[in-house]
């Protein structure tokens, strides 16, 4: 039966922080969708409530199982995850020009969201078995490289550049965390320095270069991404210190913001709550990330540590890229803001991540 210590060590702080940020998310989503005149938009709020409930269930399920089981099954989970991505390729439905969704009866799931957790599991398993203070050699990094590239390529082809980049960033962060040999890292940097100009000048066609430049600098697309960023900056900036008040954001209400319930939801929040609100939200995120790293530190098991770092990296990168993007610091790329953006698959993935952190946190005494 349950060890009594499991209950004693339950991570109430992490649960509290998660509920707090999810609450902020639901409030903001309500404001974002009620501004729109369409009735369809309003059902989004109800749907997200249901997803949030489901997410709590998945979170509880994830922390009840010992994470040792996750380690044991990691490879099978990975194969299943890749299978789902292949299903998207074969049977997925097109929405707005890309194929990211798998329809299962009344609901649609986005396997590329879930695959982030799967990659974290499989890499944590691999790294935890071989990790030394020396760091990894290039030869040892070949397997994790392949494990990352398979889902990466499948997601790029959907196409969903944002999620693919996230998978690569998460894998990269985990690799840097477990250390790469000094010699190997030098070798990698040298190669990249040589390859990038070579590819740029000899392999890329004119229009491809244009696309990359526009991606890096949205100002080059003043009628598309560039315009969205301007409107987003107006929304955020016009919030000033204390905001325009809840449900009173004008940029949002007049549909000047694109995707105001998903990628640009932070702009809606910033317009209504001002600097006070945005700093608060950033601090909550920072606390969750710090707490995640703390859990990684306290775990006595390398798998638990590396997995926790992976989950924390996932939360960090999504927060950093999304908020950076809506403020015009980052390229315009579709990455949802954890716990706040609308999206079922994203909510479930985030809740699973929190479940994993709780799991490791609760069992920190097991391997002492």
């Amino acid at each position: 039966m349950f060890d009594r210590r499991l209950v004693q060590c339950f991570d109430w702080s992490l649960l509290g922080l998660t509920l707090l940020i999810s609450g902020v998310g639901l409030l903001t989503l309500y404001s974002a969708v009620t501004a729109d005149t369409g009735t369809l938009q309003k059902t989004l709020f109800t749907r997200q409530l249901i997803w949030f409930g489901l997410g709590l269930g998945v979170m509880i399920f994830t922390f009840l199982l010992s994470f040792k089981l996750l380690e044991h099954w990691a490879n099978f989970i990975y194969v299943g995850g890749i299978g789902l991505l292949l299903c998207v390729m074969l049977f997925g439905k097109y929405v707005g020009g890309s194929k990211r969704w798998l329809a299962l009866g009344p609901i649609s799931i986005q396997p590329s969201e879930i695959i982030k957790i799967v990659v974290i599991l499989v890499l944590a398993r691999y790294f935890s078995r071989l990790v030394t203070t020396r760091g990894f050699s290039l030869k040892e990094l070949f397997t994790p490289f392949v494990l990352t590239m398979i889902p990466f390529i499948l997601i790029v082809r959907q196409p969903d550049l944002g999620t693919a980049l996230l998978v690569a960033l998460i894998a990269g962060s985990m690799t840097l965390f477990v250390k790469i040999e000094r010699r190997s890292i030098g070798y990698l940097i040298l190669n990249a320095a040589l390859a990038i100009p070579l590819v740029w000048f000899f392999f890329l066609k004119g229009y491809q270069k244009q696309r990359i430049l526009t991606f890096l600098n949205p100002d080059r697309d003043p009628l598309g991404a560039g315009y969205h960023i301007i409107q987003s900056k107006i929304a955020i900036g016009s919030g000033m210190l204390t905001g325009k008040g809840y449900l009173k954001g004008t940029q949002n209400a007049l549909s000047f913001l694109p995707e105001q319930h998903t990628d640009f939801i932070f702009s809606v929040f910033a317009e209504e709550w001002g600097l006070l609100g945005t700093i608060m939200v950033l601090l909550i995120y920072l606390m969750i990330i710090t707490w995640g790293l703390n859990i990684a530190h306290r775990s006595r098991d390398p798998f638990g540590t590396i997995m926790s770092v992976g989950v924390t990296a996932m939360i960090f990168w999504q927060v950093f890229i999304n908020i950076g993007m809506v403020m015009g610091l980052m390229p315009v790329v579709g990455v949802p803001l954890p716990f706040i953006s609308y999206g079922g698959s994203s909510a479930i993935t985030m809740m699973t991540g929190i479940g994993i952190l709780m799991n490791v946190s609760m069992r920190r005494f097991l391997f002492e």
Binding site: I230, I236, G237, S238, Q251, M327
Partner: protein, 630 residues
């Protein structure tokens, strides 16, 4: 020992985690600094911009590519159209603005309000077109009262203009507003609701070249919606210009000649497949599609029994009738069923089984060889040939002339026609092939169906010494700066199964059609140009029932269709003409239209394109002396 030292422990992880924590903190500091900058330092300015919603997007339409004829004469261009637009949120108070506007323009306010209510779900800061193409006088009025009309603006957008009303309408096609189904197609990925796209003809089939890329401007407006500053501009990229193969003057001439008839003309260069003219009559005014037509006008168009919206040159199927006989003749010669010396007796009918198949000439042609059979279009000769050949061999030859499959001209919705054989009939009707049906097929009747463009390709391949080429209507596509985007070359699609010897015999027969005193088109010959051709009279319904009726008694809609396919000059042909006139009675009646077109074209064609003049002239004089016996 070494592995023991390398083993990770809690301290090592703590050290790594400290590094991670530093990176995270740095990133958050960057985000917070940016937030402070946007919300605290620049907040005032952004609050101002948000209060007036002053940064807007305006789209700039790209002009569509222009269309020229083969000689560079313009046939389709763009003219400016002034569109009255309103931005509802700026037009305050809306009621007064609309009333003022209706006074200035002399348009009932209900009309304007009606337009608005249609678009009420549109985003509040997007301009809605209230009236399009308002004309310069109204434009002036709106400009004068500009300051009393908040939220009202006039946009200039390019509008399609077809220079010669009704001319080449089917070939050029027309534009229309993109519909919901088209918006989902990948080729229209860059289009928005309300865009005009090609719906028919060249406008549709070459849409990808003609349509440019929309541009736009980021502007700052003041409280009444007037632009105070242009922040960024993305230029619209105009579409590419098309140079067609048609000759505008020849096209017009053909249309004049065809004015009183229902039917089609295809004029083609047999050597290159270039379409020099393509007429389908009756025609329609393409400009009406651009400016919009009333329900009445539209109903008149679609209920006209002569189907003006159909391009008869490629979309109408007719029995090829006697024009088909040169194919039967080639099959007979190639399969060694007849030689030029073979003679048969035509008594005016042919008995097969318990049925009598009639020749068009009631009392017969007497002794007939292959030249006479072609020249005088003797049915009995071809009944015999057909019977010997059998339907499968005949169908094989017809297919090698391109019948039964689209010619793949660069136009949409081309019909394929029918080359009947036993398998086709079993599939279509579920009944076996009857021997007698082969006889009807051999003279181009029965189940045979062809489009005028298919017959144009077939006769051209005889003129072109057996090489069949793909017909085309676009010579080149050029960018606005003159760069050649695409240059169309000759595309051979096969060679017809006829030896040089066979072709010579057929050409002689086709020459006699026009030049022998007993030839069916002798009356339409031209003094100084030798022309070869073949007439055809396509029965609209079975000849058996009309046996004893005289044509004067036959109501118009039951009269046969008249065909004439021809090329000229007979030696080294440069032009091939196919004409069909619905219910035009006899092929010989419409042949003068074709020979006149050939004459006009060749007589005008005095300046040689590449060769020297002397060569051309000597050829010409040689032709007059000895026709074909080279």
């Amino acid at each position: 020992m070494a592995t023991y030292l390398d083993t990770v422990d809690s301290d090592w992880f703590r050290q790594r985690l400290t590094g991670v924590m530093l990176c995270v903190c740095a990133a958050f500091v960057a985000l917070i600094v940016r937030l402070v900058y946007l919300q605290a330092i620049e907040g005032e300015e952004y609050r101002r911009l948000s209060a007036s919603n002053s940064i807007r997007l305006q789209s700039v339409d790209a002009p569509r590519g222009l269309v020229y004829d083969r000689n560079g004469k313009m046939i389709v261009d763009n003219r400016p159209s002034f569109d009255l637009k309103i931005i509802v949120k700026d037009a305050k108070p809306l009621d007064r603005t609309i009333r003022r506007l209706s006074g200035i323009l002399d348009v009932a306010p209900e009309v304007l309000m009606n337009r608005l209510s249609q678009k009420k779900y549109q985003v509040a800061y997007k301009p809605i077109v209230l009236l399009s193409d308002i004309g310069r006088d109204k434009l002036a009025a709106v400009e004068v009262y500009k300051y009393e009309l908040p939220g009202i603006s006039v946009g200039i957008s390019p509008r399609r203009h077809y220079i010669d009303k009704q001319s080449a309408a089917h070939l050029l096609g027309y534009l229309g507003e993109i519909n919901a189904d088209e918006l989902k197609l990948p080729q229209y990925a860059n289009c928005n609701v309300g865009d005009y796209i090609g719906k028919f003809g060249v406008e549709k089939s070459l849409e990808k070249w003609l349509r440019g890329t929309q541009g736009g401007r980021q502007v700052e407006v003041n409280a009444t919606g007037q632009v105070v500053r242009v922040l960024k501009t993305v230029d619209a990229l105009p579409g590419h210009n098309l140079f067609l193969t048609i000759d505008r003057d020849l096209q017009k001439k053909a249309e004049t000649l065809m004015a009183d008839h229902t039917g089609a003309i295809v004029v083609m260069d047999p050597r290159t497949g270039e379409i020099l003219a393509m007429v389908s009559n009756p025609s329609f005014d393409q400009n009406a599609f651009i400016t919009g037509m009333s329900h009445g006008e539209w109903n008149t168009l679609i209920s006209n029994p002569n189907r003006p919206l159909e391009n008869k040159a490629i979309q109408a199927e007719y029995p090829p009738a006697s024009t088909y006989k040169f194919i039967t003749a080639i099959a007979g010669l190639e399969e060694k069923i007849v030689t030029p010396d073979t003679e048969i007796q035509c008594p005016g009918y042919y008995k097969f089984g318990n049925r009598t198949y009639r020749c068009w000439k009631k009392y017969g042609h007497g002794k007939v060889n292959i030249h006479k059979a072609l020249a005088e279009s003797c049915d009995v000769y071809f009944y015999l040939l057909g019977q010997e050949l059998g339907i499968e061999r005949l169908a094989w030859y017809a297919k090698n002339f391109g019948l039964g499959s689209p010619t793949r001209i660069q136009l949409d919705q081309e019909d394929t026609g029918i080359v009947p054989n036993a398998a086709w009939k079993r599939k279509r009707f579920g009944t076996p092939w009857q021997q007698g049906e082969t006889l009807s097929t051999a003279i181009g009747q029965g189940f045979n169906l062809t489009t005028p463009i298919q017959m144009a390709v077939a006769i051209s391949s005889i003129a072109n010494d057996g090489i069949r080429v793909q017909p085309k209507i676009v010579k080149s596509v050029k960018a606005v700066n003159g760069d050649v985007i695409q240059e169309n070359s000759v595309v051979p699609t096969g060679s017809i199964p006829a030896s040089e010897e066979t072709l010579k015999i057929i050409k002689q027969g086709l020459w006699e059609v026009v030049n022998s005193p007993r030839g069916t088109a002798f009356a339409s010959r031209i003094e100084h140009i030798e022309i070869s051709g073949k007439t055809g009279t396509a029965q609209v319904f079975s000849r058996k029932t009309s046996d004893d009726e005289e044509s004067e008694d036959v109501p118009m809609h039951l009269r046969p269709h008249a065909w004439f396919v021809a090329y000229g000059p007979s030696r080294e042909p440069r032009i091939a003409v196919t004409i069909i006139v619905e219910h035009g009675e006899h092929g010989s009646d419409v042949a003068p239209i074709a020979t006149e077109l050939i004459r006009v074209f060749l007589d005008k064609d005095i300046k040689p394109e590449t060769g020297n003049v002397g060569q051309d002239q000597s050829d010409h004089s040689a032709l007059i002396k000895s026709p074909l016996n080279n």
